[in-house]
Each structure stands twice: as structure tokens, then as C-alpha cells.
Symmetry: D3
Subunit: 287 residues, 6 copies
């Protein structure tokens, strides 16, 4: 479809109420899944993030990096075991995880944002001790899989206040300087709470929470946290959705205004969520 | 035409390079003519201005007020004479001019901007002695028609630095506190120079400077100031275009990056000028 | 009387304790009545205000404009009706009210202050939506006579913090951008409360509140708000004094230190109130 | 003479143009002589200084202390020799000079200013190494009589920018931490230059520079520095006037706007100089 | 002992944890006794103070001046009486006290600090009315011996925030501008409280509080304020220790983190207290 | 050797003149070689850096990563060719280089500094487009080996001004977002110039520039850039020293005060250079 310049101007103007509403707001975005693999989607996410910054929001990016890690582990012939869906992370594995997340994935996102006209700065949880971690599993079975113990958010504050977009790799550190691999969703939630974010957006590979997993029309647009246990019992929140929803609950109970599970396979999903009246995906609210 | 949300998102993203280019820039807009009379156009100008502010520019509005003044002079039965196209302005006329410009037109623009989501503050050249004036005509024949002698721009700086959009009525003041009615184009040019603006945009009721006034296709897109005298001799710059072009020349020689004569009868003309590659109307440059 | 320079120096020095006491304080002045009509008084008020600014106070001016409005309505042949002492204000009347208050009276005061060496900036309640209003009379009988619903004081803060003296016309605005004519005393009181002023001074055409209206010696110098109802019952507070006193009560209960009704017909009445030990007129206090 | 409050208000207002002219200006005052000995004069100087601060000037005080030093030297039975009018200052003498200047005279002035409502801070040239000195006499005959080698003005800047009035004792220090007694006039001039003062005022015990020393009417109101040598040859600038005039010349050639020799025996001499059109005493200008 | 450069570097590095712990902290030091008399000790105190400033602490010095005062009183033949260990201070005595403390001792410390590379500014309690005092003895028997009534700490704040080290002479002032001689320990405690200091260090001529005054090994390293009365009853806290301990109690109950009585006869006693794990002397804590 | 606390205090105090001299100064440190491989040396470098920050300097770290890169390339079985001592860097190699430098080496240094009590933030030249690069070899033979085209130093400024220590991996980026591997010495020099550093320190594995490479006593302590060509001709500057010296020359001609080649195999080499009078290694100066 070919639009005249004037039709385009109209559309910019339509965005005004949303721009106004989100001016100066902080939005934490968990970036991962298909939106990170598909070249075209990737570029659109970068554009969305840069646009957010230019119209006055403070986007804060937390990324995962699963397939790249697996790929690299294969190249260096480290075998991976999974326990309860979590990668058992020994010292050798952790070394690769850090290199891939902090040296490759993180910097690719930084470059992508910069190429789209933004000014991104990539850090991991080791920088300025941003993410203090403890092992998720005290038995030691999982090795260096961690969970967030504390967020030292000043460095993120410094970055956003000076006009940059922070891009954060989900690596934590403990008091002995041991690194930990942490689930990026939970890092995003913890940072959203620490930064007093107004919104947390999880880019996923599903349309949202569906009542009937085979019927996209059955999407639950608004999920109250008081309903969560009911839905778990009913099996509607199940499998990989359980930690995602748990993550949203932590975030909204920690004071983040709204938390969204949206479909990263949709182009410009983030802008759609922010600049349209209905939003997309499933929004979790503190009720 | 009905667009999907995603198509709209694409259009927002297309604007990014322009948003980036003009981030933090100062744009003085002379607002007048049809764009001030037609309700729909008026609203669109307001939206354009507010959008500019939200995406990081500093719009500064200078307005005229011709028809409203004439209308009010008629109501109070003051007869108006024109000499060389300039309204002879005696004491009684000046009183009405001030009331209409400062009390009515200025505040309507302010309200319009505020209704579109901005925060406007309306002042005249008397406030903080913004516009110091002298009579344009030392013989006194024209009465209180003035020209700019000096701009005290600090108040405009204060207004933009605190997040407001200044709206300026073209009334000047001399050392004896006598008010003067000044041509809004020239006030806009003087303020653009004093504020070190990057752009001056004159909203007019013509498409720009035409080589053949009956052929809209003959528009001169870029006018170098070195060509001006040639075009005047050739009669291409003639009539009401002469002062407008003179005003543009003053502005670009005073250091304003670019100056534009655009067609205010076109909806969203300001956005079109800023957010499209070609721009519209005639751009005057310092070459 | 001719004073030597040294005698004058002594008098400056006598003012020191008062200068010190009011350093950095905010004083809202309702300017109207005779002090606005008489040329000589007018000039002295301007001088008083500028002096206040230079010795470290923050004067904030709110003005009325009665006679000028009536005069202009006559010229344009709009008939005025009054209900309960309030001008019935239809659309045509409101248009004239705005022009006269915002375009003429406001700017004359601005010019007067500037001529006395200050830097004034004149605004109305429409600028930056300073004064949000609702109709005073829900029946609609009075038209666009409003009362203050909310004050957005940031613009006044910006003006005083940057070294300017704000001059405010008592025009309010509602959510539909409809203008309202509001009693200037009440606007002054509301702004004094919103700006956390230390003092509100109402310039009137009476010496203050008199116990016996024919005996100027019977002036009540200090009026406790706990005494107000008693005095109303006794008929001592009556007629036009009732809204003035109501306005003072609103102000002191809203946190303004002291509120004064003083006689604007006396030259330099404001300085007398501030720089003499006894003050003049009637002071209303929160007891 | 008894003035009404209103007459007093008029006088305050008369001061406005002067207040405006000197707003934000720096005025260095050399305080000494009769104005320091007479109780009543002393109080008036303090009042003048505090008033200056409250109306927006930055007074900076440098004081001498002659008689108090002599008095104390007598009490501790140290004999004083003078060479060319300069006190020979050995180690014992210097110890007393420092105690008297820094511990007594300086703090009395500080107290006096504070009692008049100001906030004074007293320092000597040793504090923050404000005054770096060298011996005035390399032969050593005069002992620790010094002259200014360098002024480190940051501490004075800190004091005035934080709302305080600096009071400075003319003691210098060299690289070996040896103290020096320096002529207060020259310290005042050096500080005026270093602080880029607009005015230097020397309070003396003469009416100014007189053509005929017995005729007070013969005062030279304005002295151009180009005339100085002529007047010295003519014997009009002679004796104690020579160093004072030299000091003024240093000051104006160093960039201080105007330098004044005024009669400290006149009450409120400082205010008279600043707040009257003609000024008093002799003004030295850079012509 | 001769150390290699590398051994010295190691020692610097050992200090890191302490530097980190005290970074940005405020430490009030009461300077007096032997550390002020012995030349070598004096120099080391100055070095300690400057080092503290350079590694990020804010040292604030309060000094006494006993022997110098006595010496000067003798020279001017003023006889001194003591009542309960307090010097009876009449007008003549007070004059000498002020000169010696403010003009001599204070400035010697200032010079010492500056010679060691710091930037010190010396003031007394009269400057900016830092120390408001009342007579310690209402009967008048002691004359102008005072106690602290109020601390106006802004001037000390200004000094430390601008990179200077304040040096304070313990002279107070009352509303009639009368000076008072105040015990320096109590001034230090009051300033520590007013400045929300983290540490108060009293340099004394004893090793600390000893259980057995003849056995240096019997030192009480930590004294809880709950134990004070018990120790007084037992005669362990006795004589000159009573006011010192009282002073510490005032300080810690006023919010100062820790208060220390240390032995000023030990070289670098202040650094030892701060940069070693155990500290030295007796620490009084709020338990 | 066991030192008493007091001896240690003395040594701290000895450092004062150096601390003072370098207060607020910027020191760029190229970290590499043995000092990065040996665990003990590594820890000491971290301590030196943290100490520098705490005593008021601004250390800025640029690191290399040679052996780790080679090691990882071996693990993933990428063969490396060298041309003129430069690693031929194809796409696959570059991917590994980035991961190792940005994800492993950089973050290990960050962790080390943080473990020593500092607050480090690690970035690469891609972050905020810090290092813009072009291929060093236009023929393409060397692949993605780059040289610095431009430094965008704002991000480093932001990091140091907010109390953090920047750690920079020498990866550059071009306009097409292609990464380049750049020699860390040259990156350090370019950053030193862009940051207007006072000192550039290159940690190497040699004692400095030796006249006779077998005689450590023949070290050239001060090398004037005017002598460089002479020494190259004489073969004294040869081999790997040539680029190092070239790098120093670029730095000092670019405005960096002094540039040092020091021996990283010596413990606390950085502190020794800064805190001792003679310095160590070879200093290159602009003469």
C-alpha cells in the first residue's frame, strides 16, 4: 500500500496521545526468542526501541541467548545436560555462556540499536556488580545456574540519564566473583522492580496466555494476579508459561505498573503494545 | 483508507531518521494565513507543533492576526487606511491591535496547543521587553507600525528550557513604552536569528515561489540568496513575495540554517516539511 | 521637604530589618481599583513591585480590569446584565473580557513594571493551563463566570525562579477549552495557596475593615478568622466586604501566612504594609 | 526631622535606579581610619554593607588595624620603629600583628556585620593561601612587611557565592609559611583586581584629593590616571596620598571599573557614594 | 628501616579497605594537648588531616589553645583565677583569649595544613554566627565562660563542600555580640552532632580510659554509654576524664556514629585510629 | 618484614605529595602481557587501579587479550595466519575475538576491580560507537584488522564522572556495523588523546627501552620524540618496540602529558610509576 506524505503525517499525529502518556516512563523489555533469530524481526525490534527513546521513553533491554549458547557449546564439544529444563552449568559451560552472552549476543544488539540511530551501551550483571546472584539450587546439582539476590541499579540509572539505552546480559555474580547464568525473564523482572519501571514487556514466541492453547481467539487479555492459582490448577497456565507468569507476578507485586507477555513473532510487537489502544498479548495486573 | 496497527507502526518507524536529525533543534514557525482561519487546518497545525515538542524539537511560534484585527476595528468603527500595503496605525488602532493579537489570537493558539497535549505560554513583545521596536517610517505617516530594533531572547530561552512552547504576538515596544505593530514574518526572522534557530518556517497561502505564478509545477524548491536580485529583476519575486523573501534572506544571513516558505493550506504542512525527504515549498539557503 | 543624601541613606538603612525579614518570601498582590486607574498611584505600585523584587522578594501580581471591560463592551455595543453583582458573561462578552484583560490591562501592567526597571511577564490562566475553572453557577444563568477548580503553578514557579515578575489575568479554562471570567481576588487567593506564598495583599478602595463604616479610626487591624462569622452577623462585614473576607479566609486556611486588605488609594500602600512595623489596613490571620 | 512612612517609602523608591545599576556587582571596600574607631560611624558602615548585600551587591571587606596594633604592642612592651612610614616588623611584632588583626579587629567587624543582619565570614590571607606575599624590602631592613605576590581568590568566590560577606585581614604568607604584614589598601586593590570587582572604595580620613589642601571646595571629583604624574609633580598628590593614589591606579589598570577615595568620617559614606548621582570623594578612572 | 618502593606500594594497597570504608565520611577532630605543642607531632597531625581529605573524607578540626592563652595573659599581666578548673574569664581576659585562639593558634593550624598540601580555612564561632553561646554559669562568677546553645552549621557545610578543611576556634557569641570562651571538647561534640559526623576523635594526652590508671594494659577499648555511670561510681572515670566522657556521650546520643578518645602523644594517632583494624584508645558507643 | 602500624602510617603520608599532584588527573592504562596472565600480578594491578580511583585520579583501562584468543581459536579449530605480526582476521576469527575480548577478558578485569573494592564498567568499542574503525589494510589481506578512525568519548566521560572505572576492549566498528580487531596500544593512545588524559601507561613485558638490550642498566628513562628517528636508525628502537614507541609519539603529540612504557612483570608497577619520584621504565615526552 502506498501512502501519501500527508497520510503518513496523520498517522504520526495519531500517536501523540500515546507518546504523551509514556513520556519519561521506563519500560523494561525482555528480548529473546524468534524476535532475536529472524533478521527482519530483529531489525524492527531495534527500530521500536530507538523510536521509544526518541519520543521520550526510557527503554531498558534484557536479553537471553539460548540457541547461540548451544551452538557454541557444540563447537567446543561441551555436552549439555538439562535438569527440569534448566541447563546444568559447570565451570566450562559457564565460560562459554559468558562469552556468548556478553561478548556476542549483547554486542550484536548494541550494534543493531546503534545502526538504527540509537546510542546503546551493553553490560552484564558483573559490571558495577549490577546483578548479585546466588545458586538457584543449593544442592549444587545445577552448578552455576543462579537467581537474583540483589540488583545494584545505579549503573542503569547513570546510563539512561545520560541518553543511552542499556542492554543487559543476564549474568550474575556472587561475593566470590563466581559468575552465574540466570533466566533472562527473571532478571528483567528484577530490574524492572529495581528501576521502578512503569512497564515490563516479555517478548515471547506465543500470542499470550490462551484459555484453549489451540484457539488463538481464546487469549486472556487481562490476567489479574488473584486469578493465577486458579488458572494453574485448571492447567491453563502450564509448562513454560508457569515461570513466565511467575515472573510477571513478581514484577507487578514489586511495583511495576503493568507487565505484558506479547508475541515477538509479530513485527513491531512492542510499538503495537504501546501505541495502540487495546495493546496485544496478555497483560498481568496487580488485582 | 484503513490501516492495520502494524502498518501504522511502520510509518512511525519511517519517521525515525527525521526525528533523529531534528532532535534538540529549534524551529521558529510563523503561523498565519489560511492555516489560522480554517478550523481543521488550525487543529492540524497545533498537533504538528505538539508532536515536534514531544519528539525533542523546540518549536517557537510567532503569529499574525490580520483578519481578526480588521474585524474588531470594524466593530468599534475605526476606519483603516493602508499606505503601501501597511496599515496606518494610530493610537486607537494600536489599542485594538494589541487587544486582538495579545488577548485573543495569542490565547486561542495557546489553548489550541494545550488542547492537543502541549504546554504553551503566550507572550507579546512587551513581556520582558522581548521585542524592542522603532517606527518603520520616521516621517510618522504610518503611525505605530514598527520594525525590530533588538530582541531580548532570554524569556524565550526560559520558556523552552522549562518544557513549554512559546507563542509570540508581534507587538514591539520602544523606550517610552509605546507599542508598535510589527510584521509577523520579520519578527519570526529576528527571533530565529536571536534564538540561533536551525530552521524558520513561514506558513503562507501560496505553494512557494513559482517561476510561473500560474504553474504550480514551476516551483523553485531551493532558492540561493545569491539568486534573489536576479529573480526580483525578472519579476518572479514580486508583490507580497518580496518582503517574505527579504525576511528569509535576513534570517539565513543571520545564521539560521534553513528558511522555508510553505503552503499553510496543506494539512500538516509543517510535518511534511520536516518529516519528508524532499520537503515542500521553497527553501532559502545561504549560498 | 528636602532631605540631604545622608538623611536618605538613613532611611534606606531603617528598611533593613524588613528587607531581611522578607528576603526570599513570596507575596501575591491583587492589583485593582483606584490604584489601577490613577496614573500617579499606578506608577507608585509599579515602583513598589520592582523594589520588592530587587530586595529579594518574589512579588506575584494578579489583576482585575472592571472599568476597562465595561468601557470596551460599550464601544462594541454589548449590553451587560448583572445578577447578584456578577456580570452575566455570554460568549460575546467573554471574547471582549479576554481581549481587554489579556491583551490590554495585563500588558499595560507588564509595561509599567518594565518601565520601572523590573522584568515582568504577563500571562492569563490559559497559559500552561495555569487556572482550571468550572462555572460558578451550574444553572448556567451567569454564563462563563467561573471559579477556580485547580491551579497548575509550575509556570509561575518557572517565571519567578528565572528572575521575572509574573502578571496574571484572571481568566480560567475548562477541559473543553472554554474560557471563564473569574473574580481576581479569588484567583489571587488560589495562587497564593498554590505558590505557598507568605503574604497575600489585596489592594482595595477602602481603608480596611471598619467597625463603624463612617469612622476611619474604627479600623480592625487584626481580624482572626474565628471572629469572622460574629462580624458578619453584626453587619460589620457586609456587602462587597463579604467576598473579600471570604477570600482572605480561604487563603490563610490554605496555608498563606498573612493576608491583608489595604487601601490602594494611598501612595506606596504596598511598601507601607511591608516596610513599617504596624502595617496598614486589616490583616487576617489564622486564629 | 520626622518623616511619615510614605515619605520614607518615596525615598526607598528613589534608590531603585541605583539598586538596579549595581545588582550583582562586586564592590571591594577598604575599611579603616576614623570609620573604624568611632562607634557610631562603625555601626553605620556595617549597616551600609549589609544593605548592599541585601539589595544584590557583593561587598568584600578588607580592613586595616593600626591603632589597635600599636596599643597591643605597647601592652606587651614591644618597641616599634618606623622606616619611611612603614612599621619595622620583626618576629615578635608580627606575632602581635597577626593576633590583633586576625583575632580581634577582623572578628569585631564580623560581629558588627552579623549584628546588623548580615552573615559575615572573617579570614586572613593565610586561609586557603588567599594572599601570597614577598618582603617589600629585599634588604630585610623592614622585616616582615610584605607586598602582594599573588591572590588565590577561590575562597572569596566561595564565600560570596554562598551568601556570605567576606572580611579579610591583610596578612600574607610566603612559601615557607612566614607571615607578612601588608598595607591594607594594596591588599584591597589586589583583591579587587583578582575578583574582577566593579568598584573599589577606600574609606579614608580625608574628603578626597584636594587641589588646595586647605579648601574642601577644591576637591577633584574625577581623577584620570593620565593626570596622576602631573599632580604628583605639582605636589597636589603628596604624602600619604601618594600610596593611596598608586593603589587606585593599580586597581583601575587591573580592570576594576572605578576606584573611589571617600571620607569615612561622613556617616553612611559608602551608601552616599553608591546611591547618589554625583558620588562623593575622588573617583579614579582609567583614562 | 629502609623499604623498597614496592614494599611501600604494598602498604598503600593495604589501606584500601579503610579508605573505601570512610569515603565521603565526616570526621570531627578535637585537636589539642601535646599534639599541638610538640613540633614533630604537630606536623604529623597536619599530614594525617590532609591525607584524610585527599582520600575522600571530610575532616573538620576544632582546636583548643590553653598554654598559648596563659602565656599571653602573663605577657600582658592579667592574672587568672580558676574556679572548679575553669578559667574565670572577664572582659580583659576574653579579649586576649580571642586574639590568641582566633588570630594565632587557629591560623598556625591553617598554615600547617596548607603547608602539608591541604586547603584550610580558619574561622571562629563568631563567623556566620557558627556557635551561639550562653554563660555556663548563670551566677556570673565565671564571667564569659560559655556553653553551646546552638550551632549554625551552614558555613562549615559550605567550606567542606568546596574542598576546604575547616579549622574552628571554640569562641561563641550571644545575641548581644558578647564573646564566650567554650571548652573545645564540647564545641567539637556539638559540631559533630550538627554536621551529622560519622566519627568524633578527641586527641588527648592519655592513652584512653584505663581501668587501673597506672596500668596502660588495662585500657577499656570499647565503652558503652550504659556503663558510664557505673564507671563514674567506681572512680574509674574521674577528674578530667569526666567532662571528656560526658562530651562523648553527648556526641553519640546526638547521632554521631562513634566517638574516640585517643592518645595525641602517639605519632599519626589519627591515621592509626582510622586505618587499622583495632583502632587505638577508647571508643564510646551508643549501647 | 613486619612493620608497625605507625611505620605504615608514615608510608601513607609519604604518598601525599604524589596524591596531590595527580588529584583529578586522567590516566589511561594499557593492560596486557604478563600482568594479565600471572594471578598475583593481576590482583596487584586491580588494587593499584582501585587505589588510584579512591585517591582522586580517573584511571581508564584498555586491555588486550592475545593468549586467550589464540586458546579459544584452537578450541574451535580455527587456524590463524599472521602477516607482518598481525593476525589475519576473517569473519569466523573475528567472532571468536569479540567473544573472548568482550565476554571473557573484559569481564574478568571488571570482576577483579570490583573484588578489589572499585566499581568497574566494561565496554567495547561498539558500545555507544566508542571506537570507529577502518581496515588497517585496504588490500583486504588482513581482513578485519582495524585502526582507529574516530573516538566518541562521551560514554567514557559519563562513566568516569559517575564514579566508575571504565574497562575497554579494543574492538572497533565501521559504518556498516562490521567489527574490527584493533591493537590495544593504539586504542589506548587514541582514547588518551580523546579524553585529554594527563598520562598514558603501557604495561609491557620489558623493563622499558634499553640502549643495550642485554643490559637492564642501559634503560633510557626519558625519551624525547625528537630522538626517536635517531634511535630507530641505530636499531635501538626495533622489533615490537617500534609500534609501542609510535603509539607513545601519537599520544604525546596529541596532547597527552606524558606517556610511559613500564614493566608489567614488576608488582605494583603502576603505583611505582605514579608514587615514586623517579618513576620506572621509559617516559616519552613531547620535546
Amino acid at each position: 500500500m502506498i501512502l501519501t506524505a500527508m497520510e503518513k503525517a496523520e498517522i504520526l499525529v495519531e500517536a501523540l496521545p500515546y507518546i504523551k502518556e509514556f513520556y519519561g516512563k521506563r519500560v523494561v523489555i525482555k528480548y529473546g526468542g524468534a524476535a532475536m533469530l529472524d533478521c527482519d524481526l530483529k531489525e524492527k525490534v531495534m527500530q521500536d526501541i530507538v523510536l521509544m527513546k526518541y519520543v521520550g521513553m526510557h527503554p531498558i533491554i534484557v536479553h537471553g541467548g539460548g540457541p547461540e549458547i548451544t551452538n557454541m557449546l557444540t563447537r567446543v564439544e561441551i555436552e549439555t545436560n538439562f535438569v527440569d529444563g534448566l541447563r546444568v552449568t559447570n565451570k566450562d559451560t559457564m565460560e562459554i555462556v559468558e562469552m556468548v552472552l556478553g561478548g556476542k549476543v549483547n554486542k550484536e544488539i548494541v550494534s543493531g540499536i546503534n545502526a538504527s540511530g540509537g546510542k546503546a551501551v551493553g553490560i552484564t550483571g558483573k559490571d558495577a556488580r549490577l546483578i548479585e546472584a546466588v545458586p538457584v539450587d543449593s544442592s549444587g546439582q545445577l552448578g552455576f545456574v543462579g537467581e537474583v539476590k540483589n540488583i545494584n541499579a545505579e549503573i542503569v540509572e547513570t546510563i539512561i540519564q545520560n541518553g543511552y539505552i542499556p542492554v543487559i546480559a543476564p549474568i550474575g555474580i556472587d561475593n566470590e566473583c563466581q559468575s552465574y547464568n540466570i533466566n533472562a525473564d527473571f532478571v528483567a523482572a528484577a530490574i524492572a522492580v529495581a528501576m521502578k519501571a512503569d512497564k515490563l514487556v516479555l517478548l515471547t514466541d506465543v500470542p499470550g496466555l490462551l484459555k484453549d492453547k489451540d484457539d488463538i481467539e481464546s487469549i486472556i487479555s487481562v490476567l489479574k494476579i488473584s486469578e493465577v492459582s486458579k488458572y494453574i490448577e485448571a492447567g491453563i497456565i502450564a509448562g513454560g508459561m508457569i515461570p513466565k507468569i511467575k515472573c510477571c507476578v513478581e514484577s507487578v507485586t514489586g511495583g511495576v505498573g503493568r507487565t505484558h507477555i506479547i508475541d515477538g513473532r509479530v513485527a513491531h510487537a512492542i510499538l503495537l503494545e504501546i501505541f495502540t489502544n487495546k495493546g496485544i498479548g496478555t497483560m498481568v495486573v496487580n488485582e
